[in-house]
Amino acid sequence: MSQSVKTFGLFGLVALLILGTGFVQSWNSALLILNMGLVSALMALGVNLQWGFAGLFNVGVMGFVALGGLATVVIAMPPVRAAWAAGASGVLAALAVGALTLALAVWVTRRMARGWPRALVSLSVLVAGFVIYRALFDPAVAEIERIDPALTGYLGGLGLPVVLAWPVGGLLAAGAAWVIGKTALGLRSDYLAIATLGIAEIIIAVLKNEDWLARGVKNVIGLPRPVPYEIDLQNDPAFVERATGLGIDVTTASTLYVKLGYGLMFAVVLIGVLVLAQLALSSPWGRMMRAIRDNEVAARAMGKDVTARHLQVFVLGSAICGVAGAMMTTLDGQLTPASYQPLRYTFLIWVMVIVGGSGNNFGAVLGGFLIWFLWVQVEPIGAAVIDLVTSGMADGSWLKAHLQGSVQHMRLLTMGVILLLVLRFAPRGLLPER
């Protein structure tokens, strides 16, 4: 079976699975899976760029996805004028001082000779900078968070169209990736992994605790949408007429319309990125990347600037994850920092890439859809299995109750088993790199 036939076949299978969900469960569920599948596929493309193309081991996907989420708040929410007046200048000044301090410290370490004086000077720069930063930052934040804390208590956003948040989310993620890459790339692969794991946790900690930024665990809800609200559609006579004309219940029709709207927008982004990734893969740049991945020493000996290339691809891949994160938060309509879990937003994406086929863009996309479908459907399937297993047990037995209560944890188990099986029996994934 040729690779392209296999590609078509597997994508056809995924389409069938989603269509099947539509027929068996509901079209709403099917579209929900499709939309998150599109977002997941985009994240998988980003990780594939880093791992499949360049062999970079990034386990901080969650952090970049969350930064994308932050972008939606910063771009799309209406500004809280009172908070801006109260503390924006202080916060911005503090952040500027912070950035300046770090820059100065880096400059000092670059310019001075190794030894105690250097350590002392850079340390005192850092300490002094930190004290000034806190002196500016703390009161400003207190001011901002005092403004109507139950509803706002944060700076709000810029009030721009939410779709603008997608590229901005990519930029935010790219910026963070640049900083991480500058420090951690060039270290051994396991170290990069731990470093990215750590930065992701820190980003989530910032989102959870910096209430002035995005309300922390109080969440930002009611993000503006790029598509109409269902209720508006239901009140729109033209829409009602068309829905009834098609013989669909108006409420259902409105939800389907909204989801289809998201799906189309996501599909445009995914296809765009996929085309770009394919072009990159077959370009001289892509060939060089793979050459570096396969033999870093030889590539270095040929005069390739391996670290710079790695930084490039790391920033690009992270940016894609940021875009996907912004899209996801747009779809959710809210930013809930507590919901970011590494197993779901980092390691699940890795399962997608590995299962789909690392190094193959179509593989990553396939993995995104397939694994997302399973992630959603394992729970009802698991519940059915458990019901079958426990059907013989007496009602009210603790084991039966326990098993039925634990169904949700089948997901993690299944994902692990799938990953291990694929690694064992198809180590290059369902759609291997050519």
Partner: protein
């Protein structure tokens, strides 16, 4: 100025918690570093291995408590610990047989093993949550304090109190015994030496007739023991929650890397470096300062460098600094 009270506050809020936490991290990091030294990969499933061992211990503890067995002032979990270790040993040996051995025979690149360990992580995580749920579990019993704050105040007449929880004392004692036994094993026994030889120079070890599969098996047994003890002590001292154990991966790895991956002494040093930094940087020093500084200089702020929620940031920053300045860690680890 009141040095005595300042010291007591310091001990109560920084030194003692950090020592206990450092001991737990050190035990965790020892497991990571052993796997790295012998099997040559970073085991992402280690946090969940700790969770599994602790879970078995908890289940046995509950059973013992149900039968009315207790250790008096000490937690019943101590009695259950050997069963937890055995359970964890069974788990990791089974995993090695079903999963890792295949890749070892293929001599795959270490990063592939890391990805494999991600799969194992998912499975362990799922198993633990499936069996015991995702919520907090309490299993500590026995006497709560070796010395309570109130007793300490009554005893010394100081303004400030110093409380030492049983679990903190137990953590330190158990960790010291465990580490002493481990080092005796590695440095004094033939099998331990063969493990070090294998870690040092695999080809020469094979040439010397050291059986790699045996070395690997013993490594897993040690890792299971260390992970279960670390997990149980952490659970007793704080709380058992599967997700917390997964999150421990970061400080545990930071400890192992800061100390030098592959170096057991380094793992212990790294554990304490990370623990003291985390506790010290997220502690509000106001109270200590109040005792030490003249009244006029007393600070208005809490003197807290970072909120406690940023403790990951501390591990991370120390990790990055050490990696940039001394990539092999404080005690020269292996750099593959």
């Amino acid at each position: 100025m009141d040095i005595l009270n300042a010291l007591v506050v310091l001990a109560n809020f920084v030194l003692i918690p950090a020592i206990a936490y450092g001991a737990q991290l050190a035990l965790g990091a020892l497991g990571v570093t052993l796997i790295y030294g012998i099997l040559r990969f970073s085991n992402f499933a280690h946090g969940d291995t700790m969770a599994f061992g602790a879970m078995v211990t908890i289940l046995v503890t509950w059973a013992l408590q149900g039968w009315g067995v207790s250790l008096g002032p000490l937690p019943t979990a101590l009695l259950a610990l050997p069963f937890g270790i055995l359970g964890c040993m069974a788990l990791v040996l089974l995993t090695d047989r079903l999963v890792y051995r295949f890749y070892r025979a293929q001599r795959v690149k270490p990063v592939i093993l890391v990805i494999v360990s991600m799969g194992v992580m998912f499975v362990y995580n799922g198993v633990v949550r499936f069996v015991i749920g995702a919520d907090d579990q309490r299993f500590a019993d026995g006497e709560r304090f070796i010395i309570s704050v109130r007793d300490f105040k009554a005893l010394t007449g100081l303004e400030e109190g110093l409380g030492i929880r049983t679990t903190q004392g137990l953590t330190v004692v158990t960790a010291v015994i465990t580490v002493a036994l481990l080092f005796w094993f590695l440095n004094r026994t033939r099998t331990g030496k063969s493990m070090r030889a294998y870690s040092d120079n695999e080809d020469l070890a094979l040439l010397s007739g050291i059986n790699p599969e045996r070395v690997v098996m013993i490594t897993w047994l040690l890792v299971a023991t260390l992970a279960t003890i670390a997990g149980t002590l952490y659970g007793l001292d704080k709380t058992f929650k599967p997700f917390t154990y997964f999150q421990l991966l970061l400080p545990v790895f930071a400890s192992a890397i800061v100390g030098g991956l592959g170096s057991p002494v380094g793992a212990i040093a790294g554990g304490f470096v990370i623990a003291f930094s985390e506790v010290g940087i997220t502690y509000a020093w106001k109270k200590v300062a109040e005792y030490l500084l003249p009244e006029a200089w007393e600070p208005d702020s809490l003197l807290q460098l970072l909120g406690t929620d940023y403790k990951f940031a501390v591990s991370f920053v120390i990790l990055v600094i050490v990696l940039l300045i001394r990539p092999t860690g404080l005690f020269k680890g292996k750099s593959v």
